[in-house]
Symmetry: C2
Subunit: 546 residues, 2 copies
Amino acid sequence: MSASPSGPGTSRTRSWWGWGYADAHPDDAACVALGALLPGTLARPLPVPRVADLSVGRPGVTPPTALAHLVTSDPDVRAAHAMGRAYRDIVRALRGRPGRIPDLVARPTHDREVADLLDWAGGRGVAVIPFGGGSSVVGGVEYRGDTHRAVLSLDLTSMDRVLEVDTVSRSARIQSGALGPVLEAQLRPHGLTLRHFPQSFEFSTLGGWLATRAGGHYATGRTHIDDFVQSLSVVTPAGTSTSWRLPASGAGPSPDRLFLGSEGALGIITEAWMRLQERPRHRASASVAFADFQQALEAVRAIAQSDLSPANCRLLDPGEALLSGASHDGSAVLVLGFESAASPVDGRLASAVDLALAHGGHGGSRGRGGRGGHDGTPAADGDAPADTAVSAWRSAFLRMPYLRDGLARMGAVVETFETAATWDRVPALIDAVRTEVGSAATKATGHPATVNCRLTHVYPDGVAPYFTVAVAGRPGDEVRIWDDIKAAASEVLHRYRATITHHHAVGRDHRPGYDLQRPAPFALALRAAKDALDPHRILNPGVLID
Amino acid sequence: MSASPSGPGTSRTRSWWGWGYADAHPDDAACVALGALLPGTLARPLPVPRVADLSVGRPGVTPPTALAHLVTSDPDVRAAHAMGRAYRDIVRALRGRPGRIPDLVARPTHDREVADLLDWAGGRGVAVIPFGGGSSVVGGVEYRGDTHRAVLSLDLTSMDRVLEVDTVSRSARIQSGALGPVLEAQLRPHGLTLRHFPQSFEFSTLGGWLATRAGGHYATGRTHIDDFVQSLSVVTPAGTSTSWRLPASGAGPSPDRLFLGSEGALGIITEAWMRLQERPRHRASASVAFADFQQALEAVRAIAQSDLSPANCRLLDPGEALLSGASHDGSAVLVLGFESAASPVDGRLASAVDLALAHGGHGGSRGRGGRGGHDGTPAADGDAPADTAVSAWRSAFLRMPYLRDGLARMGAVVETFETAATWDRVPALIDAVRTEVGSAATKATGHPATVNCRLTHVYPDGVAPYFTVAVAGRPGDEVRIWDDIKAAASEVLHRYRATITHHHAVGRDHRPGYDLQRPAPFALALRAAKDALDPHRILNPGVLID
């Protein structure tokens, strides 16, 4: 297997085409076992793709001497920067037709070099695609146009240091190219943590989280990375924007909020002062089963509208619960977790469990006082939780993207998408997604489809449901089938005025839905801002703004 | 006394020139007593100004017939819309030289009329100044230019209804012209509350809060109005921007965050879906005294960095504590309050008091279980708290702007300004403000100045200090003295990279400081957005963008 160079901070090899580490991929036998779960899939897995089988081609542009040491045209590196890690990307690699492979990959080490690269690219019509961990599942890091002379993938992972720590204000200045484990390792000696743990934690960077408004660890309250930003430095073709470090401000529209979610279209986020927390000392988790999913929704709403603030409050529907091993009897399962640096959390957990039981929950088990990462945090962050359903869910959570790739090798089409809506619309929305997206998947393939749902983040006024659709595909036709499923999903979300994305970002795959969602005057304003900051239109073309 | 028509929802008469209700103003004897507190003030108060003494002039433009029923040229109404309620505004009225009086005042009743008024104004070069409660203390609602043919004050207080309440998602669609008490009165029958109580609560509107990113009730956590917005409708000259109602979204930069804080320069916010809460059932408050202000700062930091989340955590320095009656022995006083709709808060209060005592606090008293509005909430919201220092502070808090106007009548110059900074800079910042702004006030007047400080909002990573400067002025020279004090304050804030405003907004008075604070590329983007949305540059000219 051809592979990209090792990621920073680890000796394990990253896969050039699939999720995460190459050595964590399911082997052929495991793929066959996965395929057996879905009627109609292949008898044998598609072969693991190799860069050597691609026609990578020679770069269409040469960097200037002064920047040459930052730039590579190595085919393995370029192939590993050609796409993100959506199912659509995986299957294109498996079929030997990945997205456009960038001409060059640059790895700057400080802001000045980023600015110099933008200057050079702007003068030559070279598209610049910012690249962090490359874990985009929305087509955020590939070039799909044809109006640029060449494509430069701007890999920021050499800018991965925590530059300053302010223990008094509990904050740190962190370079944007730091992967999750890399930044947490540098914060740990100070007793502090960013505590932002998206599912992609190991394979995504601070800059990626900021550029896509990633959703993190917390199931309630402040979970989007937006809320943990004190200030940003963003290199744009029109100069570097550095906001002041402030705990809060009312001085005009927030400069940071314009760049948060800008997905590389307005500038390259190079560093940020981030708000940190003490590491939690008290934790407790529990799970509660529900025979009725609607009752479970009501339980979650009651907890979200209490002031209990669980760190984890994830509801798995029966299909999700079964797949993750959290239940085996067709129950939905609510996974609850609490944590605190200051005081024991057993009382809050007990109150939340009581609320769940009062809303029709039953059974379940409780893990008191564990130090465990009940919350989807990586193994390094703590021991396994005491509650078995919680523990099963957690390991399945981190394993899921690998299993998706195994299913893809068996010819399955797998799509995951997420949204958010206010509580009044949630039950009907979830029903409509199940019915309509399932039908679309079956219609496109002739095979039965499974549509599972979990709630990943809950708010007093609404919730973020996350859907997984899996269906056996037709060999060679997977991208079109995936497009049909995506279109059906977008149609339902639009009808219910549910956001096209809660935390996966827009990228290129969600552009049609985003364009329908975004108010027209705001689109005018954003386009004008883009013209002002990126006059040569080189920054991540096709993302957010045409 | 000439006065504007009564405010909605009350039969009391609003003052056309001073804070709040005319019948709440200190009388001449009370003014003399106030003046005695500041050496060098006048022996007798300046007379209360009358509209009849102004040269209001005839309007420079006539509205079209179709809109005429929405528009008035009544001199009393126009005078009441000429300025906000900064000290600078008050003293200009007292000296008979208010800001430019608008030619017309319009009171639209729905979005279509707002759009029609903008169309009309855009075609004729008429400046449009959005006007809610008129409580701006930063020159946000007056015209200071000379490039427009006429000035229209767009008063939104006829759009003051709660249009829909969603009790499932705990949210409501509210028209932007609703004053605080007007919107709370409409939410109360549903058992819900917005719980946004700025000091100006009675005299400011939802639209004003949104346009200025107002800071509210909560001393910790989410306090800026920004965090309570589900969606906005904004009428711009380029069309109406209506975002979807969402509990959260990661779809590109937040449309709402561009309009939040736009201060009328990008569009007219006409309604918003706002996140609500159950009304609190449990409350407790306490005060703790500190002989040493630095120790008190450390106590506040410890509480802010705990997970106790007090609703109120306001630290008064000795001068503030004395003036408000919260202490009489030169102590600083920390006012603490907790509230919850769900569960008793005595335990959290006790933990916070313990933290304060462990950091050098002493004495103080505690009011357990009271229903009282310990938090600056208006009387309608609950009974007085049991703690006497808390109670004294609360009534002084609501009375302060009236006293400021009384001092102004005695020839004093009074400036209040606020900021926010990270904890590492806070002690030096507060010292520098006291020393340098005090010196500037004395230098400008020849009189001793008092500079008091309180902390209004606290965060894990920093704090928002609020300063009050008072000094006897030189008759007729008050505006220049105030400008000198403002310049000195801005200089210190800039040096410490402390925001020019935490919750008072930028308006016209803070433009120099704002222009220094705002990153240059963001200014480019904002200007481009303004050009796209307001091509005729009629919206609140001079605010945020030239």
